[in-house]
């Protein structure tokens, strides 16, 4: 603040000249566009130095970060007893044994449609959240945001806040600088390693893999994926940061399709804020009084933005909807004695209503939100239904390539490969019968060469019994080239599983 009182009320030190990424790029382009210099199709990355901020949305973001990271690191250690012979990890994708475990749910590879259901739910849930409250996923829950936030916190602890970091980067190389940078990257790599290490725990037993990892006994795949996720976490959260959102992620490109004038998005209240200008000492502002708006052009909204944008330019692709600029602006508004929420989560409709001096209205129930909600409800309902009616046994049948064989007695015989799936935790025996063909009998290969109406098959716990069998029927009962028959497996508890298949016979005239 200069003694004559002509400077701005608030002094941010080195931070006074805050420029958004967009402005800095425009400057670079203006330089490149000077006559006789070739057109530049590539630009230097503009480094973003977000300032520390306090407030409601920052607290929410910390809470989301702690909750999500906690969940990510703790979940693999949660135990869930499934009895002997089964893994006791609550959440486990056991690729080696082709099983997925989620608490009381266990799915087999052919039931991967549950995963499809979860992905559909996630997608529609994202649409619903976006149409209601903008890109809150991007701002609070996306792994890229969560880990970037964590990495920025680490960076701030080691290198200091915004202005200190800018100063440090401008300094010539010194022992102190090297020390700080080394410490920062070491801390980043440590976090990245823990991230990659935790990832692998979702695919193999967590306590076992931790022991194996440090004794060198883990599989090559384990080391590879821990390395891969360590590298990607370090690169994406430490180096690439907001560039992942602006250059790599497809979501910002089509989020506009989910937004409408009633979606809550981070909004600068242009009506209230403009015309903007630095505030003088002793100056008071209000809309009805002077000709200056409430925005004092301190640019602290730009200084705290993790993607380096100026929210006052309006909704833009780079905005991840984290609301840190809201916190920052409210801090300033309180200091200069102006009402809060010059920047706020608000809707376009309310902005327009405010400008037109109409009553302000929210509209949460809209065709699109209703549609998204019922879509979610429908998919969730389907999944619950599928899960509740999921059978613990099933039978799969594959007909031989050979259509049929006529035996010397004149009987017609078809051969099948049959798999009995036992999804229970105990070994079980089933009765196998065939329906839909009069006089049909079964010859179970390996058990008997005599046909029987009913044969006994068994399957190990959580496994399948594979059998080859022949179905024999008197020619008189085989009425056509194709007869629909059903294989029925009946457990000792009386429960059944049925599979329909075809029994082939000769053409009618050749019999």
């Amino acid at each position: 603040m200069s003694p004559d009182g002509s400077a701005t009320v608030h002094d941010y030190g080195d931070d006074a000249d805050v420029r958004s990424v967009r402005e800095q790029k425009a400057d670079a382009r203006a330089g490149a566009a000077a006559p006789a210099r070739p057109l530049n199709l590539y630009a230097r990355r503009v480094q973003v130095y977000p300032r520390k901020v306090r407030g409601r949305f920052r607290s929410l973001k910390w809470a989301a970060l702690l909750g999500l990271l906690g969940l990510y690191y703790i979940l693999p250690w949660v135990r869930w007893d499934r009895g002997p012979g089964a893994p006791d990890q609550a959440v486990l994708v056991d690729l080696n044994h082709e099983r997925g475990y989620f608490f009381f749910i266990e799915i087999w590879p052919q039931e991967v449609y549950y995963l499809t259901g979860i992905l559909v739910l996630a997608a529609v849930g994202l649409f619903l959240a976006t149409s209601l409250a903008g890109r809150v996923w991007c701002g609070y829950a996306c792994p890229q945001t969560v880990w970037t936030d964590l990495f920025m916190w680490v960076e701030r602890q080691i290198e200091g806040d915004r202005s200190a970091r800018i100063r440090l980067d401008k300094q010539p190389l010194s022992a102190g600088k090297v020390g700080r940078k080394t410490a920062k990257h070491a801390a980043w790599l440590a976090i990245a390693f823990l991230t990659g290490g935790a990832w692998i725990m979702y695919f193999v037993d967590a306590p076992t893999v931790v022991g194996d990892f440090f004794t060198g006994a883990a599989s090559e795949t384990t080391y590879f994926f821990v390395g891969l996720f360590t590298a990607t976490t370090y690169l994406l959260a430490g180096m690439a940061r907001e560039q992942v959102c602006t250059y790599m992620c497809p979501w910002p490109r089509f989020q506009a399709a989910m937004l409408d004038e009633d979606s809550l998005v981070v909004t600068y209240n242009r009506y209230r804020g403009e015309p903007r200008g630095p505030i003088r000492k002793g100056e008071t502002r209000n809309r009805t009084g002077g000709d200056a708006g409430h925005c004092i052009d301190c640019k602290q909204c730009v200084a705290v933005c993790p993607t380096g944008i100026d929210i006052r330019d309006g909704l833009q692709l780079e905005c991840i909807g984290c609301g840190l600029c809201v916190d920052s602006c409210n801090e300033i508004m309180a200091k200069v004695g102006l009402p809060p929420n010059l920047i706020a989560f608000d809707t376009e409709r309310r902005m327009a209503q405010q400008a037109a001096k109409q009553p302000l209205t929210y509209r949460l129930i809209r065709p699109r939100t209703v549609l998204y909600f019922f879509l979610m409800l429908g998919v969730a309902g389907l999944m619950v239904f599928a899960l509740a009616t999921r059978d613990d046994r099933s039978v799969n049948v594959l007909h031989d390539r050979t259509l049929f064989v006529r035996l010397s007695s004149g009987a017609i015989q078809n051969s099948y490969d049959v798999k009995v799936l036992n999804k229970a935790r105990t070994a079980r025996r089933f009765d196998l019968t065939v329906e839909g063909l009069p006089g049909a009998k079964i010859v179970l290969v390996g058990r008997s060469t005599e046909p029987a109406a009913r044969v006994v098959v068994s399957a190990p716990p959580d496994g399948l019994g594979e059998y080859r069998l022949h179905v024999r029927a008197p020619a008189a009962g085989v009425t056509g080239e194709e007869t629909k028959i059903r294989f029925v497996v009946t457990g000792e508890d009386g429960g059944t599983a049925v599979r329909e298949t075809t029994f082939r016979g000769p053409k009618a005239q050749s019999r």
């Binding site: 790029k25 425009a26 382009r29 490149a32 566009a33 006559p35 006789a36 070739p38 057109l39 530049n40 199709l41 590539y42 630009a43 230097r44 990355r45 560039q243 250059y247 031989d400 390539r401 050979t402 064989v405 006529r406 035996l407 010397s408 007695s409 004149g410 015989q413 051969s415 290969v445 390996g446 058990r447 060469t449 594979e466 080859r468 022949h470």
Partner: protein
């Protein structure tokens, strides 16, 4: 690339200088590290060219300093798979055929191994799935067996073959009853016998001829094919009283077979396949549909 850039009138942003019918392209520069990634991939490809086989020439290709070969790799993998199969192969070797058939683990392995060996060695004549082929290649999926359909009989037939030089081969010969001046039967008599053979399967059309053929059949044929045409597996004489015919089962076909018989042959597989494979083949053929 144009040497100068111009400003777009409306956005104030620089353009690339490209213009199509008044539409200009704004210049939105990529971050430079993106370009470095491209250069890094080029550098990587050079390293790859040096390390791995890469450039084809007239008489071979550059081998690469690592000496990697996908052919060697697949051979190693096959060897590893064979080693993994070892305990099953040992089980097959040390178990009797009926033990294999009642041990679920060995049975599955034998069926899979037998299927592969069958496709390579047997399917050209006996057909995929052992359904047989016209012209004397018997079906192995039905219950009509020339030399027996038990595990041991099938195993012996595969091992020693049919009508081969092997000492234990299945050998039999049906004499030619016609065609020569001094033949045992005249063409008319052969026709009568054929009618009688048809009558064994209840297919005769000429009762009188069949009656004339009956004593001839008893004299010349019954010793091998049986009084009622039930066949004889000791001699590989086919059953004549059922609906299954190895060759043409029409009257003309039967006449031709009596006049100048055709007899099939099968190699002795013990000189071509190892003992375990033959065991697996026996179990597989037994499971095709007609095992006894």
């Amino acid at each position: 690339m144009p040497s100068k850039s111009e400003k777009d009138l409306y956005t104030g942003q620089a353009t690339t200088g490209h213009e199509w019918d008044g539409i200009e392209e704004l210049n939105t520069p990529l971050p430079r590290w993106w370009l470095w990634v491209l250069y890094a991939t080029i550098a990587w490809s050079v390293v790859y060219f040096i390390l791995y086989p890469a450039i084809p020439g007239w008489s071979g290709y550059t081998k690469g300093v690592l000496g990697y070969s996908s052919r060697v790799e697949i051979e190693e993998k096959i060897a590893a798979a064979r080693a993994a199969q070892g305990k099953f192969r040992d089980g097959i070797r040390d178990s009797s055929l009926s033990e294999i058939r009642t041990d679920d683990r060995l049975l599955r392995f034998a069926l899979a191994g037998g299927k592969a060996a069958f496709a390579d060695n047997c399917a050209p004549c006996h057909g995929v799935g052992g359904t047989g082929n016209p012209g004397g290649y018997p079906s192995l999926a039905d219950d009509d067996w020339l030399w027996g359909g038990g595990l041991a009989e099938i195993h012996a037939t595969i091992r020693h073959g049919v009508r081969t030089e092997d000492d234990d081969a299945r050998v039999s010969e049906m004499p030619a009853f016609g065609g020569e001046e001094d033949a045992q039967l005249t063409p008319e008599q052969i026709g009568d016998v054929a009618e009688f053979v048809l009558s064994l399967g209840k297919r005769a059309t000429d009762g009188a001829a069949a009656a004339r053929g009956a004593p001839l059949y008893k004299e010349h044929c019954a010793s091998c094919h049986g009084e009622t045409g039930q066949g004889d597996r000791e001699q590989g004489a086919p059953r004549l009283s059922d609906a299954i015919w190895l060759r043409d089962g029409s009257k003309a076909g039967i006449v031709a077979q009596i006049t100048r018989p055709n007899m099939g042959a099968m190699p002795a597989w013990r000189t071509r396949l190892d003992a375990e494979t033959i065991k697996m083949l026996a179990v597989y053929v037994h499971a095709l549909g007609g095992g006894e």
